[in-house]
Amino acid sequence: MTFIHVALLGMLIVCALAVSLTRNLLTSLIVYMAYSLIMAVIWMFLESPDLAITEAAVGAGITSVLFFVTLKKIHAIKGDSDEQAQK
């Protein structure tokens, strides 16, 4: 249990809290992306490289892309006129 391992686990909790506490939806999505990447690194620490590759490609890549397209569809990305969805 090295220092960096403990620090990564702490960052996971911080990211999870930040997802719910940030005001902007786009910010919370980017934080969630960072959460997935940290998870991938932790799986390398746990000696599961299969999971690390899958999480990095699927969790941080595809899922986030789907979330971003959804945000664009509901006009929540900054610069859009519709303020309703940003709450």
Partner: protein
């Protein structure tokens, strides 16, 4: 706090409350008007006085009734505004308490779990021992996890690919926008297309140039991961996701017209159908004659070579194709409602 308040005021209940208040103010005025209305001096004053007295009492009665009703309105208004707020606050507190309690009891359980990294955990039992010691010999795959999910537990993975296919079908049902029968686009599709290209430049030089360089590399990497699934970390799922990322990049850079040249609904249908049915048939054959270490006639090859592991590599390719098509069609449907 003020933002919270403005949020609150723009909500329907608040608007309802305002409307309601104005309504009962008008009622109040009406009552006061009613009570203070002067009557002309009568001729036969005694009769009139008696009548007036009766009228007064009846008005008194009316007034008390009205006040009672007002109280009821106030109660209702309270229930609709402050009460709702109080209940929502109570809900927040109770939800937080529930979450904290859940964490606390689960932590108590975690403290009783076997130690992290202990070789004698109950999880490392005879099953995993068998997978590790006999896995290479029986499946021919160097990557024990790949051998496990595509040989010992291949039925599970078939179900998983089917889940992906069903998810793609569900999203297709939810988001697809059809054209008219004569092929002309419907109003919704035109709106979706204009919305789609609203904030994006057409034919961006930098994006197209980098996509030209990156897409082949991403494809190559995905194919490498799929083909080496039985030798090194990776496999159908991660490789398929990487290939779909390359497809998405291509679509973003060059638009739907160019991507539609090689990927249509027909491609999706046929690729999914052939991959899933190939998977099912291959595993059916394997179950029919190869289960329990009976000879199946499929050579396992030398461990570590690219052509080894029996059926694992073709199955990885099938799974990868299903995953890539599914992820790509998710993206296309989310963006425009079609391919």
């Amino acid at each position: 706090m003020s933002k919270r308040r403005s949020d609150w005021e723009s909500r329907p209940q608040a608007r309802f409350r305002k409307w309601y208040k104005e309504g009962f103010l008008a009622l109040d005025n009406e009552i006061i008007d009613h009570l203070t209305r002067t009557t002309e001096l009568p001729e036969n004053i005694e009769d009139r006085l008696i009548a007036q007295q009766e009228e007064m009492t009846s008005r008194q009665h009316e007034r008390t009734l009205a006040l009672e009703r007002l109280d009821q309105y106030n109660m209702l208004a309270w229930a609709r505004t402050r009460g709702r707020k109080a209940i929502s606050r109570l809900y927040v507190i109770l939800a937080l308490a529930l979450g904290a309690m859940m964490i606390f009891f689960l932590l108590e359980t975690v403290a009783l779990m076997p130690r992290f990294g202990d070789p004698a955990t109950p999880g490392a039992n005879i099953v995993s021992e068998r997978y590790i010691t006999k896995g290479l010999e029986e499946t021919g795959a160097t990557n024990i996890v790949a051998g496990m999910i595509l040989d010992y537990r291949a039925f599970d993975t078939l179900g998983e690919s089917t889940v992906l296919f069903i998810a793609a079908s569900a999203v297709l049902i939810l988001l697809r926008i059809d054209r008219n029968k004569d092929g002309s686009p419907v109003q919704e599709l035109i709106a979706a297309e204009s919305d789609d290209r609203h904030y994006e430049p057409r034919n961006d030089r930098i994006l197209q140039g980098s996509a030209m360089i990156l897409t082949p590399i991403i494809f190559l990497y995905g194919i490498y991961i799929i083909l080496n699934g039985h030798l090194s970390p990776g496999g159908g799922f991660s490789g398929g996701a990487i290939i779909s990322a390359g497809l998405i990049l291509y679509l973003d850079a060059f638009g739907f017209d160019k991507a539609g040249r090689f990927f249509t609904y027909k491609t999706f249908t046929w690729v999914s159908f052939f991959s899933l049915s190939f998977y099912a048939l291959a595993k059916a054959y394997s179950f029919y004659c190869g289960a329990n270490n009976l000879p199946s006639g499929i050579p396992l090859g030398t461990p570590g070579a690219i052509l080894s592991g029996g059926l694992i590599m073709p199955l990885n390719i099938a799974v990868g194709m299903v995953v890539a098509c599914t992820m790509y069609i998710f993206y296309a449907l989310f963006r425009k409602g079609g391919l």
